[in-house]
C-alpha cells in the first residue's frame, strides 16, 4: 500500500522534499512508516531525537501503534506552539 507523507519544518530539510509517497506492506502501522523513513533518510534520526514529531493521520492525532491504510495522508509536525 501507499501512504502520502508530509514533513513539516524542520524535518523536510534533511530529506530534501516536503511531500513523499512511501510503499508499505498492507496492515502497516505508524511505527513501520517511521522505520521506513529512518532507513531511507538516516539524518531524520537526529531530528526525531531533538524533537519527537507530533503525528497525524488525516485530521486525527496518531501514535506509533496507529494502523495505516492505503492512500492515507500522514503529517509529521514539529511540536511547537509559540507566538
Amino acid at each position: 500500500m501507499n501512504v502520502h507523507v508530509r514533513l513539516a519544518e524542520p524535518f523536510w530539510r534533511v530529506v530534501g522534499q516536503r511531500n513523499l509517497d512511501v510503499e508499505l506492506a498492507a496492515g502497516s502501522r505508524m511505527a513501520d512508516l517511521l522505520a521506513a523513513l529512518l532507513a531511507q533518510y538516516p539524518a531524520l534520526a537526529q531530528e526525531f531525537a531533538d524533537a519527537p514529531p507530533l503525528l497525524f493521520v488525516g485530521e486525527d492525532e496518531a501514535d506509533e501503534a496507529t494502523v495505516l491504510g492505503d492512500g492515507r495522508h500522514v503529517h509529521l509536525v514539529w511540536p511547537i506552539a509559540g507566538g
Binding site: A8, E9, P10, R13, R18, D50, A51, P52, L54, F56, E59, D60, E61, H75, V77, W78, P79, I80, A81, G82, G83
Partner: protein, 621 residues
C-alpha cells in the same frame, strides 16, 4: 556599575532635564520594561488620579526605555519598551520592539526618555551626543513610515536611526504603533497614538558614543560561549531559515489557528511557511542577533510574522499568500499594530455576518476573504475615514455597536488578542492571556513548553516542583504561567529578544544563569538566579499596582466569552473550551504562585517597597 541616563523632556515648555537614573532603581528593575513601569507609575501619580489621566492628553507620560543590555554585544540585545497609559485599553500600556533604534538611542547617550506635555506643532526629538534637541517636524507630518525615516536620514545623515509614527499615529488611531525600520513596531496598546497626541512625529538618534561596559573582555568571552550554545539549538536554526511563519502549519494542523474571528479553528495551507518563503529574498536581523528571523519580502516590505499571517489571513478569511503579505506591508507603512487591526476587522466582519451591523454603518458589504475591502478599510482606519474611523477606536468601537457585540470580541482588558493561537486547547495559554498585564497578549508569559512532551523530571527542574504535564488540563497552570511572567519580565528589562529566552519555544536557550553572567560583565552588577527572578516579580507587582490604580481587579482577569462558551469546532482540538469554574481555580493557583491575595492584590509590604523605590524618582512637581 555603568551609569544609566534618563532625559525628562517636556514638549509643552521645552524644558529638558538629563540625569542619572537612580542606581538603586536600576538594581531593582534593570531597565527596559521594568524600569519603564517604575517611571510610569510615578508619573501617573504625579499627574493626579491615574484614572483621570487622558491617554491622549498632555499629562500622559510617554516613556522610551532601552534594556539594561541593549546595544551591547550580549546576544539579541536589541530591544526597548515604549510605555504609557494605553489609549486602546485605558490601562497599562507597554510595547516591546526590536530593530536598531534602541542601540542608537543608547549610543546617543540615553537609556530612557520620559516625554511629557504636548508640542505646539509637529515636532521631533533629536538625541545627539548626550544632548536633546526638540525641532520642528511639520514637513514630515503626513508621511508614512519609511518615507518619514528616509527624510530623517536625508536631514540628519545616513547614520541616523529613528522611531516614528505613520498616519495612524498622527490621527490618534488607538491601535497605532511606534515604528523603526520597515516593520519593527512597538505595536501593542496604541503607543503611536500617544506619540501623535503629543505632536511628536519622531525620536531620532545620532552620534556614536560607545556604550559603557564593565568588563569588555569577559563580555566578549560570554557572548562567544552563549552564541555557540544558542546556535546549537534547533529552534534557533529553524527560525533562522524560515522565521516565525513556521508556526502556522503546526497550529493549523492542531486546529488552533484563529479563523474568521474564532468561529473556525483551521484555514488554508496557502499560508504555510513554504508559501511565504517564495516571497522572501533575505533573512534580516536586529542588533547583535544570532538568529536572523526576519524576512525581507519581494513585495516591498519586511515580514510577515506568524501573527500577521494568522490575523490578517486566516482571521479575515484571506488565503492568497501575496494578498496577506501586501496587507502586512500596508499596516507597517501606515504604522498600525497588525494584531489589533486583524482582530478588530474580524470582529466587525462577524457582526456584519450576524446582521448586528449593516451597510448604514459599514458603508458597504464586509465579507470574509474580501481582500479589496480589507485593504481599503485598513487605509481608512489609519486616516480615520468612514467606517475606518469607527474601527480606529479598536475595542472602544463597542459604543457604535449593539451591546451583544461584546460577545464576539476577542480581547481581554480592552486589548485585542495579540497572536493567532486559539487558546481554548492549551489551558496555560488561556490563563496567560487572561492575566497578562497589558491585556490579551502572549508575550508576557506564554508557557510554550506545554506542547513538548518533556519528561517529568525536566518539567520539575524548570518550574521548581512536580507539575501536571497535560497541556489541556487545568492543574499547575498557575505555576507555569507565573514562571513565564517572571522570566519574560526579566528578558524585557534586559532588552533581550524572547526568541533566545529559556522557555520560549525551547528549554535550551538563555536562562537566569546566562543572564547573570551577561549582567555582571556588561553592567558590573552581581545577581544570582534567585535575585534576578525577584526583579521579574517586582516588575509584575508594579504592573499589578498600576492596573489596580486604574480600578482593575480579579474580575478583569478573564477571557473572551467565546473561549468559555463555544467549543472548538474541528481537528484535534475539537470540543475544547475553557470551563468557567476550572478557570477560577487556575486563577486562585496563579495568585498564590505570585504571592498575591485571593483578589489578586499585591501584599502591602511589597507595595510599600515599590512605593519607596518610586519616591526616588524625581518628577516635575
Amino acid at each position: 556599575m555603568s551609569e544609566s541616563t534618563t532625559a525628562i523632556i517636556n514638549l509643552t515648555t521645552g524644558e529638558v532635564r538629563v540625569g542619572e537614573t537612580p542606581p538603586e532603581l536600576v538594581r531593582a528593575y534593570l531597565g527596559g520594561r521594568g524600569l519603564n513601569m517604575a517611571y510610569l507609575r510615578r508619573y501617573l501619580h504625579a499627574a493626579g488620579d491615574p484614572r483621570q489621566v487622558d491617554p491622549l492628553g498632555p499629562d500622559n507620560p510617554l516613556i522610551f526605555g532601552a534594556g539594561l543590555l541593549t546595544g551591547t554585544i550580549a546576544p539579541n540585545a536589541a530591544r526597548f519598551n515604549v510605555s504609557a497609559k494605553s489609549p486602546e485599553s485605558g490601562i497599562l500600556g507597554d510595547a516591546n520592539c526590536g530593530g536598531f533604534f534602541a542601540a542608537a538611542m543608547r549610543k546617543a547617550g540615553f537609556d530612557r526618555l520620559v516625554i511629557l506635555g504636548r508640542a505646539e506643532r509637529p515636532s521631533l526629538i533629536l538625541l545627539e551626543d548626550g544632548r536633546v534637541h526638540v525641532q520642528d517636524a511639520s514637513d514630515l507630518w503626513g508621511l508614512e513610515n519609511m518615507p518619514a525615516q528616509n527624510a530623517l536620514k536625508e536631514r540628519f545623515g545616513r547614520g541616523t536611526i529613528s522611531a516614528v509614527i505613520g498616519p495612524a499615529g498622527e490621527n490618534k488611531v488607538r491601535m497605532a504603533g511606534v515604528m523603526t525600520g520597515q516593520k519593527n513596531t512597538a505595536g501593542r496598546g496604541g503607543m503611536g497614538a500617544v506619540m501623535g497626541s503629543k505632536n511628536l512625529k519622531a525620536v531620532v538618534a545620532r552620534g556614536g558614543k560607545a556604550i559603557a561596559v564593565a568588563q569588555k573582555e569577559t563580555l566578549r568571552a560570554v557572548r562567544i560561549q552563549q552564541q555557540k550554545y544558542l546556535k546549537s539549538s534547533k529552534i534557533v536554526q529553524v527560525l533562522g531559515h524560515v522565521g516565525t511563519p513556521l508556526l502556522y502549519e503546526v497550529s493549523n494542523r492542531l486546529g488552533a489557528i484563529r479563523t474568521r474571528n474564532s468561529q473556525d479553528n483551521y484555514f488554508e495551507d496557502s499560508l504555510n511557511a513554504e508559501e511565504i518563503e517564495k516571497y522572501s529574498d533575505k533573512m534580516l536581523a536586529c542588533t547583535s542577533c544570532v538568529v536572523h528571523c526576519r524576512h525581507r519580502n519581494t513585495l516591498g516590505g519586511e515580514g510577515p510574522e506568524y501573527s500577521t499571517i494568522g490575523l490578517l489571513g486566516a482571521n479575515l478569511g484571506i488565503a492568497p499568500t501575496d494578498q496577506v503579505i501586501t496587507l502586512n506591508n500596508l499596516v507597517n507603512d501606515l504604522g498600525l499594530d497588525a494584531s489589533s487591526v486583524g482582530t478588530i476587522i474580524a470582529w466587525a466582519m462577524e457582526l456584519y455576518q450576524r446582521g448586528l451591523i449593516g451597510d448604514d454603518l459599514t458603508g458597504g458589504p464586509l465579507n470574509w476573504g474580501d481582500y479589496e475591502t480589507v485593504h481599503g478599510l485598513i487605509e481608512d482606519i489609519a486616516h480615520r475615514r468612514g467606517f475606518g474611523d469607527v474601527l480606529a477606536e479598536s475595542t472602544r468601537a463597542i459604543r457604535f455597536f449593539p451591546p451583544e457585540a461584546q460577545d464576539y470580541l476577542i480581547a481581554v482588558k480592552g486589548l485585542p488578542q495579540s497572536d493567532p493561537h486559539d487558546v481554548r486547547y492549551f489551558k496555560g495559554f488561556a490563563l496567560g492571556i487572561a492575566v497578562a498585564s497589558r491585556g490579551a497578549d502572549h508575550l508576557r508569559n506564554r508557557p510554550t513548553l506545554e506542547v513538548f512532551k518533556l519528561p517529568d523530571e525536566v518539567r520539575e527542574k524548570i518550574y521548581g516542583r512536580p507539575n501536571d504535564p497535560d497541556p489541556t488540563g487545568y492543574k499547575d497552570k498557575g505555576l507555569i504561567v507565573a514562571w513565564g511572567d517572571d522570566i519574560f519580565a526579566v528578558t524585557d528589562s534586559l532588552g533581550i529578544c524572547k526568541f533566545v529566552t529559556h522557555g520560549f519555544n525551547s528549554p535550551h536557550l538563555l536562562g537566569y544563569d546566562h543572564f547573570c553572567d551577561l549582567i555582571a560583565a556588561a553592567a558590573g552588577l552581581k545577581f544570582t538566579p534567585e535575585s534576578l527572578r525577584e526583579v521579574g516579580r517586582r516588575a509584575l507587582d508594579t504592573e499589578r499596582l498600576i492596573n489596580a490604580d486604574f480600578g482593575l481587579s480579579r474580575a478583569d482577569d478573564t477571557l473572551p466569552k467565546r473561549y468559555f462558551d463555544d467549543p472548538m469546532p474541528a481537528r484535534k482540538t475539537k470540543g475544547h473550551h475553557v470551563d468557567r469554574e476550572q478557570f477560577q481555580r487556575m486563577l486562585d493557583e496563579y495568585y498564590e504562585e505570585r504571592g498575591w491575595d485571593a483578589d489578586g492584590r499585591v501584599p502591602t509590604e511589597r507595595q510599600a517597597e515599590i512605593e519607596g523605590l518610586g519616591e526616588r524618582l524625581e518628577t516635575e512637581d
